[in-house]
Symmetry: C2
Subunit: 400 residues, 2 copies
């Protein structure tokens, strides 16, 4: 047990969201993730919302993206800080950062320098834009990448107005992609092969995400239309009931027939507009409008068993409030009341890795670290004696 990545060490010089998303997955899967922070800490410690009393630097967003990691502060502008970093690199399987190439090189953390220290190292850089292209080195933030990669354009297709998704969407997705690429490289390295450098560019990954779904007929030439019409139609939405919203999926012929029975309109089963998948696709606006009108007549709790009885897939559309009470989410242990407390007043909700591994299990849960929390134990593991550790407090910016 302990997770499929038990025994893998990850040296994590990332901050904010995209990098911490990648290393969160690795940490939940049992990797020993050492979060190397600058003296002021990961920005997300402060930008991620108000921290509770007595827990400075533990903003809610920081807590949820940094579970199961260890923290050490190293001032990489100092020689002593760089020296600890090099010793850590010698013991690691993976190094990950989202610094730009110039900054990496100036710190001696570029792929070539680190491969010289540790030829087995997987060196992963999350960049804004693939190196060598015209935007190489330009600053990349999630909203800029959403706008540039076509995420906002898809909202524009849907509603007429470009928008951002209500998530740090491209950071969050590209972080998962980086964790996947790192593990693929670990597979390729095998038990005794050499490591390699990986570049994971945010823009190109986000654009491929968007275009794989919506290149559509445009794939075959400039005359073709973009987009999946079933997704882009503004009528594809959660449906208002008497007291909330419901999501209904009635796409096969059997489901559509069941739906017409459930709403007491069995005559529509023979309506030529709705009699086949092709007909309903042709008349998707009519079909979706009819669904919306029907749902308004009853409460969500009335509809759910009625639709289920006719084998029509349906679930409530949760608010964030009602999601917290969802019996499946609580029952599966994905959302939990933490036993650990940050202070004497506040209880705390925590999240857990959602996947299950029959043999290895996942890593035992551990709260996100306070700044520099594990400096002493990490330095001890590296072989620094007590006097050296005390010296590093000054020279390398280690705080503890």
């Amino acid at each position: 047990m302990g997770g499929p990545l038990r025994g893998i060490r990850v040296l994590d010089a990332t901050g904010v969201i995209v990098g911490p998303t990648a290393t969160l997955l690795l940490a939940e899967q049992g990797a020993d993730v050492i979060k190397v922070e600058p003296p002021e800490g990961d920005l997300m410690r402060r930008l991620g919302g108000r921290a509770p009393a007595g827990a400075a630097g533990l903003s809610p967003k920081f807590l949820h993206f940094n579970r199961n990691k260890r923290s050490i502060v190293l001032d990489l502008k100092t020689e002593a800080g760089k020296d600890v970093m090099r010793r850590l690199a010698g013991t690691a399987d993976v190094f990950i950062s989202n610094m730009r190439a110039k900054a990496l090189a100036s710190l001696g953390l570029d792929a070539a320098s680190m491969a010289a220290l540790n030829p087995r190292l997987i060196h992963c850089t999350i960049s804004g834009f693939a190196s060598g292209g015209p935007y190489d080195g330009a600053p990349a933030y999630d909203t800029i990448i959403q706008g540039l990669s076509g995420v906002s354009a898809c909202f524009q297709q849907q509603t007429g107005e470009p928008r951002f998704a209500p998530f740090v969407l491209t950071d969050h997705i590209v972080g998962i992609i980086a964790a996947q690429a790192i593990c693929a490289a670990l597979v390729g390295r095998g038990a005794d092969g050499p490591g390699q450098a990986i570049e994971v560019p945010m823009f190109e990954n986000a654009a491929a995400f968007v275009l794989s779904e919506h290149l559509g007929q445009r794939t075959f030439g400039p005359g073709g239309a973009f987009g999946d019409p079933r997704i882009m139609t503004p009528d594809a939405r959660p449906l208002a009931t008497l007291d909330g919203y419901i999501c209904v999926s009635a796409n096969t012929d059997a489901q559509a027939r069941g739906f017409f029975d459930a709403i007491g309109r069995p005559e529509l089963k023979e309506d030529p507009r709705f009699r086949s998948v092709a007909a309903r696709l042709e008349n998707v606006a009519d079909y979706f409008r009819l669904r919306a009108e029907a749902m308004a007549a009853r409460t969500t709790a009335e509809w759910l068993p009625l639709l289920r009885r006719h084998d029509v897939p349906a679930m409530p559309c949760h608010t964030l409030d009602s999601l917290l009470d969802d019996p499946q989410l609580r029952g599966s242990g994905t959302l939990v009341e933490e036993d650990a407390r940050l202070n004497e007043e506040d209880a705390m909700l925590g999240l857990r890795h959602a996947n299950r591994y029959s043999r290895s299990g996942s890593a035992p849960p551990r709260l996100a670290p306070r700044l520099d929390e594990h400096a002493e134990e990490i330095l001890r593991e590296l072989g620094y004696d007590a006097a050296q550790r005390a010296g590093l407090r000054q020279d390398a910016g280690v705080l503890s």
Copy 2:
């Protein structure tokens, strides 16, 4: 070269989006992905948009999610089909499906039966809901999971109305998560360890995605507010210029000051509402409104160099049309004109894996397969002789 997963064989019994997303990543990284399709083929061959003349079953969405895979048709309702499947399982490193537990067991494809055939196998099931919970076995479609997991609720927080994202968002994200979990399990298996079963539930993964971003102050008790206000404010959006939209990110003090200079309002640098990160967060609605008003005065092409000169991160907000001409997307080789043609009339745009691997490279690009395209070669590799292969055409539903 050939990709970090070269030498790994994946037996892929998935269809539509979530599973094919997972195996696309593995295939681009060099795994030999064998797509086992029912006689009618993956639903997405028809539901993914109109296929060009002479290329039945190659809808655009199918093409973009199934590059670099091989296809064989097996009718798993026949004994001969099951027999080929069992022989394939003996040669594979990974088996992945999104069938429900009962269907898997009835086909003899459950984890225990397959581990008996091949103890090294990683057996991955993408489920709608974690097994054992109250929704276990309920039908899961992307829109139902978006509504249930809080994706729609985040739109409701942002604009007052629950919506779906203009993507098969949870399918697409959970597919990437499944590829990551599979590779982590391959790392854990190592050169000679046993395999294991993985379950990747859509709902729980999607809800964790949402809540890690937006649990917010609610993490610390029922009195706290959900959500990251900088994301949820309706004013966080691409900004209209004279001729299009632009995305501007001016969050640090230096960027904010540069922005005020760029728009010719240097006096705002001393405005107490905007003088620090904390002040701008407090007055985020004012700050975002001011940005929106300023941008309307010039064209996007005028603003970009002006903002760059003041070190303010900014990029155009692309339409899907203008995205196709983006020099970075084309220059990096993520979006390409395919050399291969599906017929004599239509040229074709293709996508490529966005990540770069210094030592292993990626898999050489190959178009998505026609239905059953690789049956003969796969059966030959399994050791079936010509007479047996001819027999299988009838008995196992193999079409070629």
